[in-house]
Amino acid sequence: MTEIPVRDFDFHGPALDTIFDTYKELRDHCPVGWSDRYGGFWFLAKNEDIFNAEQDWATFSVAPSMLLPAFGTDEPMIPIDIDPPLHSAYRKLLLPLFTPRAVDALTPLVEETARTLADEVVKGEVADIGLGYARPLPSIIFCTLVGYPPEDWHMFDGWVDRIIYDRDVNPDESATAANEVRDYLWSLVERRRQEPPKDDITGRLITAQIDGRPITDEEILNYGYLLFLAGLDTTAWAIRSSLWYLARNPQDQERLRRDPGLISSAAEEFLRTMSPVQAMARTATKDVEVGGCPIKKGDRVVLAFGSGNRDEDAYPDPDEIIIDREENRHFAFGAGIHRCLGSNLGRREVIVALREFLDRVPPFEAVNLDEPWHGVGPLTVRFIREA
């Protein structure tokens, strides 16, 4: 029997500080291997292996959860923890709200919100643009999209931090916060059922038919819960990490100011190299071999998107951030049938956030060099004003 390659691979919290070096070591020496963390899982570190697993949904199931560890609940989140055939019925419900046309219609609100936030953070000499810009922007847009009361976005960050970012170290707190969010979502559903119909996400969910039958209360909650956790911190992370890079790379910041036409390809490059979702999990539905490793039915398999996105076999100079990179297929939004439902909106928010920020504020530089590239924490910058 061949020996199974083992690494103490983690993809949460402080492990992210040095994860690009970790990925390189895995790709070079252990492209498929086993980690004992989180109950034990196989990991795939190569771009091609990740792509193939994403396409083969029959072998790599998303049940019981795409998240490892789960987001504070054992309830399956809809649609990401659901396999076909039900999966496509769920997705079809909301896909029309995220097409390029639908996103175009939302864009003026994104622009106006970005300007208002930028004008506020730039008032001082130093600002936390993680807290003041990257985080509120997606939350405010999300309120409109889902139908939450606009002022409620102030409550979201705390919930998201407890459910997502503390879950590997404090699962009880994560579960408590999950219950609070589910109660909050449910009160919105009950309120909306008394009100005249409106065409937003909540409006579509509460009136939905799934394969010819009315959606259940449980399904509404499990869909709403997923959206709450999928659309807020991911976009905030993408905006923050882009600004984190620009605060440390004045030449590229200046280049984007001079040539805003490059912002779209720059955003794509930031998404590739600093993806908000570094990995997602699957469960093998049968015994399968990948890269010589014997994955058994029922084993958890982690697709390390962040590693695939820096695979030297897929990109020239994969660890270089090249803001006008032309060929840029990547896994920031996943691939296959579970690709991010909101990718068009997410991309648009990042691009608008960068464009409006560079347009409204003077050159900015990093103040606290210890602030990491990842996460949704503080990003402290100083604005450099002409004397």
Partner: protein
């Protein structure tokens, strides 16, 4: 150049619409097709289509004739 979008592969990322919005189109769910039913790409749009092919996360754009 002649192309097609494989409907079993397209997942609606809409990257093709960024690079060649005059060659591709999307339905109400965001799934892409080629506007020209014959799939023929005008000479002056070949380069843009090549960029779209290289950026499709699903490898869903098939080059039938180059």
């Amino acid at each position: 150049m002649r192309i097609a979008v494989d409907p079993s592969k397209c997942q609606g990322h809409n990257r093709c619409m960024i690079f060649a919005p005059d060659v591709f189109e999307v339905d109400d769910y965001g799934f892409a097709t080629v506007q020209n039913p014959a799939g023929t790409v005008p000479e002056e749009r070949v380069e843009a289509v090549r960029t779209a092919v290289a950026n499709c996360p699903e490898l869903a754009i098939l080059v039938l004739e180059d």
